[in-house]
Symmetry: D2
Subunit: 310 residues, 4 copies
């Protein structure tokens, strides 16, 4: 199994004037590694990749890969509409030295499942790197169906899946379908069902909230690997409650994504990891009232300020 464990989609700290906050990003990577994560997922959804210019995405890759220093595998999201565009992104990411890439189903257009197979097949032919499919129908509208994944696992085109569909019963089916391919790694993107996913056989977890409490998810994972499901569950239930941070910021002018992604940045600022919670445009910063609620929830979850050395 090429990848495993806790692989958070790394937030992209921004300066107040809208550029990548390079020092903050270095500190965030150091924090995540200190807390024991098993890999880094750059340029994912939670990373606000869609809010970054191409040049800013390059900066993220350069900065975070250098900060990681080869201590854990680094995979990069190649979030784009269709095959040729994803190949362009993947080749750029490869040039930076990533260990794998992550690609959604084609979107904006309406693909059928055979077109999804063709997409990943062409991508794998063009880019000699492990590829994880990213099933996120809430963002791209199309579900990558179980038979599609089984086909791509059997042919070796895909090395794994990041499932952000929230469809747990279907996720279990994918695990059953692909259990015979040990080199195919299935990850859940759920912050709330990580213990269940591991119990069902997942290789690991890609939790956005893993930016905020990486240690919590690492403890959960370690307990699961040790077969101590009671501990894993208790840790998950604490994290379940903490997840309320993602909605306290919703308000007129602060949509669902701004509230969710923004809450992770606010929490990182409150914990002393990054210096600014600025989001990418057109999203706005959360209100002071929302920050106060997040602070209270961090306290309830026993999360304190940390010292990070880069």
């Amino acid at each position: 199994m090429m990848f495993h464990g806790v692989i958070p989609p790394v937030c992209t700290p921004m300066t107040p004037d809208g550029e990548v906050a390079v020092d903050d990003l270095r500190r965030l990577v150091a924090f995540l590694l200190d807390e024991g994560v098993h890999g880094l997922f750059l340029l994912g959804s939670t990373s606000e990749t869609v809010g970054l210019t191409d040049a800013q995405q390059e900066t993220v890759l350069t900065t975070a890969i250098a900060a990681a220093g080869g201590r854990v595998p680094v995979i990069a999201g190649c979030i784009d509409f269709t095959t040729r565009r994803v190949i362009d992104r993947a080749l750029r990411a490869k040039a930076h030295g990533v260990d794998g890439i992550v690609s959604c189903a084609p979107f904006y257009l309406k693909p059928d499942q055979a077109e999804i197979v063709r997409h990943y097949t062409m991508l794998q032919e063009a880019v000699d790197l492990p590829i994880l499919a990213y099933d996120i129908p809430g963002a791209v509208q199309t579900k990558i169906e179980r038979p599609t994944l089984a086909t791509l696992a059997a042919s070796g085109v895909l090395s794994g899946l990041k499932d952000s569909s929230g469809q747990e019963a279907n996720f279990r089916g994918v695990l059953l379908d692909t259990a015979q391919y040990p080199e195919f790694s299935v990850f859940t993107g759920s912050e709330l069902m990580a213990d269940v996913a591991l119990w069902l056989g997942a290789a690991g977890i890609v939790p956005g909230m893993g930016n905020v409490d990486p240690g919590g998810y690492v403890r959960l994972y370690d307990a699961a690997v040790a077969g101590d499901w009671g501990t894993a569950k208790a840790e998950q239930e604490r994290l379940y409650r903490l997840f309320r941070i993602i909605s306290v910021g919703q308000a007129p002018g602060i949509g669902f994504s701004a509230a969710a992604w923004g809450s992770f940045k606010v929490a990182l600022k409150l914990r002393g990891v990054i210096s600014s919670a600025t989001p990418t445009a057109p999203m706005s910063s959360l209100s002071p009232g929302a920050e106060a609620k997040i602070e209270a929830l961090l306290k309830e979850a026993s999360l304190e300020q940390v010292a990070v050395t880069t």
Copy 2:
């Protein structure tokens, strides 16, 4: 009113090996101008913009703008996720000399309406060109609501709207809301309700099928402008029947978009305008059986081969 009339979203012909078919694109532009269209919309949805690399999009702008030779206004789609990315695209399009740009609501993330207002406002501040909003919730999931459009029309941030929502009653509301802003131009993207849209007060039509039968839509528009609604309706009904071309290609491996956009290219090939109906990846070409059905429908609509001189 800055823009009006029939402004087709220009298809992007591709060579069999996946590059922009520059000669075909020149011929297509010449054909559209010959048939009397009032403007060109480059890099729209039907143009398979999401299937083109950035370099290919540059080629489209260079080629088509040169082919148009200033005879009609040219507007360019800047289809991208969020504000900074759209600004980058808009500035590139502006450098090519376009007369206006078209931008969707932010997508992949989940914006609220105030974030949509912020998006267009920042875009207008950064790019000194007329901006049309592109309401296409089927592709980007978020509707640009009537109050949002009214706000942006009143402030002059937007110069108009391309409505591809298929929500005709709401479209009528937008027309009523913005009737007091004569410089705000409302276009329908519907191939099927163009006469109705004009009757309700729309400035024009942006029909994907206008690639195939630009003359039909021009006759429809001219009749509408002359108040000859019976002729406009008869033309629309003929075009309504022709629109069956967009679904005859659906088959395993040929999704909705491949069938629809592909049908326009097949029809253009059959009419002698372009030499290849190759789509962008991961879409596949329509089957010979589908081509035959499209040929029959062209014949039924009295559309024949044309001679195009570039």
Copy 3:
């Protein structure tokens, strides 16, 4: 053509203690007939049929049919899940002497189109009355597709359609598909596009807001029949603005339907037609603030108190 013109879905006035307000219902029917409607649609969606017990539905039929006194055709909604249940309702309605019935696609279960064909075919075999299909996917989740309607029009199983889908381009397709069956009557349920529907060839209109301003819809219809589309459009635009009444009541505890259906009852109370705007449970009455807004919109639309004699 069996049915035509303005056929409002008649509201069901309720007493404050939750029973059918029989006198109010009689007055409402008298008002509608006074204003010139061409038929009555009892037990439709706007009638809050789903909020009425079976016994209350019987009371509605008895009362309204007696009040109509045979002056216009009366059709009855038979809103229920599946075939046997709809047949039971249809036979009861027939016993009351209705002139036709209206049935949705089967719902709660997930039917395919062939099951919809089977539903109407069995219904027609069991009940010797004209049947209108009721296409309302917003309530029943399944669309009655164009080929399904064409099949049922060709076989004579259906006598017509009430389209409450809000999909105007598809509606136009139904009109084109069924134009060859003159005995098949197509009605729009749209309050906002009645002029357009008639221009496209619809037989008539079934507007919920036709309870509030039946005279306006009758004038619109008469102008359309006379070919005076300018007058029809002006009337429609006035009614478009009046339609804002349906959302001013939305508030915590007042959902979409409560606000919409409730606004018609409030308007009827303000116009002096009925004595109470009580809704069926679990809906609550609109607030005094909402009533004031509705009053202002009635005034703006030049709708005043009326004298109704029963």
Copy 4:
């Protein structure tokens, strides 16, 4: 806790001429009790309640309650649109002696959450029986949100929940929210995640496929109660594979529900429990080919013919 364990939604066997197959229903109840189920849920979705006339629903209650003979609790679905109608159904069910009732959120109309609270509150005031909420947004379009359930659990209006939403992470939240109310029983309707639901703290399972293999679900439940999660999981994985029966029947004319509910009846016929797999109209019987596939899947799951004595 009033209810617990495996409580299958009992299929309603029909005769070929469309009436309730009373003898088959008695045999089915006997079979379920023989296999050890802990309760019976009559007139649920899987029971094809929406396909039964009111008289047929009465027959189901009379027959099944007599067949159960008080050995296990019996709860009855009261699937109807709104409050008054559900109260009518609930009072009829109570007269038959049921131990509890199950009601969806109001549907066909569009309720908000406060109207859902009002619905259950009025229902509880009118009917002195334990009430379970039935969260099935796939059928009724509205989700019963977590705060709504927490409110109704705290006030004692609801005695529990049947969750058929397929939203496992939200389901976990409901369990956490209501853990402080020991008399509030949470059931999953998922055939595929029963072990997980029990691990998370659910009181029991309401699996449609529990008609076909009640013994499997009982073994799963017993293992879970004993803390033997490995056995529970192995049983669940066998049942996961068996669940393929619900889609093998899909074909033109056989929609999703006909295939799913029909597969349970076919399996019961193949196992010798009932004599006919006839569905309610407008659904059609599965094809012989589908029956053969179901037979093969039963064999794979080691399910054989049974002897049932009534």
